[in-house]
């Protein structure tokens, strides 16, 4: 799953989940599922950022 969604979509979905929790729109019954999904998305985003960071670090060093 994690490879089919890009960072921006993942972040957006994550924001929507946080907002819906904030707005109290959620049923307690689906809360666990939502938080689970959110934690997956956070992991995905972190991985992406780390990867991007490494790639860019190399590019920027070569440039200097």
């Amino acid at each position: 799953m994690s490879t089919k969604i890009n960072y921006t979509q993942a972040k957006k979905e994550l924001e929507e989940i946080v907002q819906s929790i904030e707005a109290g729109e959620l049923d307690v019954d689906v809360l666990t599922a939502k938080v689970k999904r959110a934690s997956e998305l956070i992991a995905l985003c972190k991985e992406r950022l780390t990867k991007t960071d490494k790639e860019l670090q190399k590019l920027l060093e070569d440039m200097a």
């Binding site: 972040k11 946080v18 929790i21 904030e22 307690v28 938080v35 956070i42 991007t52 920027l60 440039m63």
Partner: protein, 462 residues
Amino acid sequence: MESSFSLSELNRQVRGAIRDSLPGAYWLRAETSDVRGNQSGHCYLEFVEKDAHTQSIIARARGIIWANVYRMLAPFFEKETGQAFASGLNVLVRVTVDFHELYGFSLTVVDIDPTFTLGEIARNRQRVLKQLEEDGVLSLNKELVMEAPANRIAVISSPTAAGYEDFKDQLDNNPGGFRFYTKLFPAVMQGDRSEESIIAALEKVYQYKELFSAVAIIRGGGASSDLSCFDSYHLASNVAQFPLPVVSGIGHERDITVLDIVAHTRGKTPTAVAEIFIALVTKTATELIELQERLVEETEAFLLKEQSDLLTLSNALVHRSSLFLQREFSTVQELTVNVRHLFRQALQKEMIGLQQITVNLKHSLRQVLKEETTALQQHHISLQHSLREGLRDELHFIKNVEQFVQMVSPENVLRRGYTLSIKNGKVITSSKDVQKGDTIVTRFKDGSVDSIVTGTSSKEIV
């Protein structure tokens, strides 16, 4: 026949007349023409005056500057005006008017006022500038944007000029180690031909304009500096309308020529022009470095922001979910309290309702019993009353009857003095029942008397 003069005699007369009538020195305004020096250091020239409109010569006079004067005057003039003393200049000179029997009329220059010429040059420049402005071209070249990097330069210069070499050296040895591409377009930079020569060079540059980022018109320093061609309308008009930015460097410290004014940028000397290009390229390089730095910074900032966004979101998730649950917990708690409270209230209300019913019941019962008791008492009272009334009525009736009977009882009537008249055993109640001679019995309470009727009368007594 009048006496005649020999030429020498006449010329002598003229010389005397001129000397007598124009004895001093005079300031003269005129244009120089055909200025030439000779080996002995004297300067020969002609002064002319042109019609302001037609430009045709309306006056002419020979002039001479003796070497001893010219040696002082020429450098002074050049120093003051930035202009060699040459043909085609409007000058204000102090002259003596001379006439020589052999050489004829001439004006000998003894002094010169360079400021007049300066004014003339300035006026001329103003005219040219005004014309360019009217043409709408004055600032065209200035408005051009110099393509970056400004390192491809078409150079218009005299190939032999020292200034050109200085220019190239300066560029080649630039401290940033930037690469410059120059191409010389040779031109005569001095004298009468310079104007057309420079224009021709510009035309040649024009053919390759895509290859260049700018044109440099430079002229090596040199002692003699004839700047008049750089004030020319034609050259200025060409430069102003040229599609590449023109940088001028015609090597004069003090004067700004028309060319300098219309050029994109002005450098004082060829070296200065080179510095201008070096500075431009350096600036371009600096911008590039800055851009690179920004790229690095922004990329790092971007990543940092994303990381912090992610952290914020992650924290929000934790915070919000626990808040959410807390809120739900307290909602359920509140509902529990409400249920308990409301339930107790409902029971209490029922209890009070029951109590009220009990009270009502007691009250109603007391009321019912009281009413019954009252009704009984009322009956009792009514009974007593009715009985008393009834008995009294009966007694009253009986007493009335008794009175009546006593009143009509004959015994009682006789006792009160009334008598009864009786005929044949019947009570007589009318005088008509008795006739004369009838015997009647009169009864008293204590006996009776028999009488005979002697007469009757029917007169009513009562």
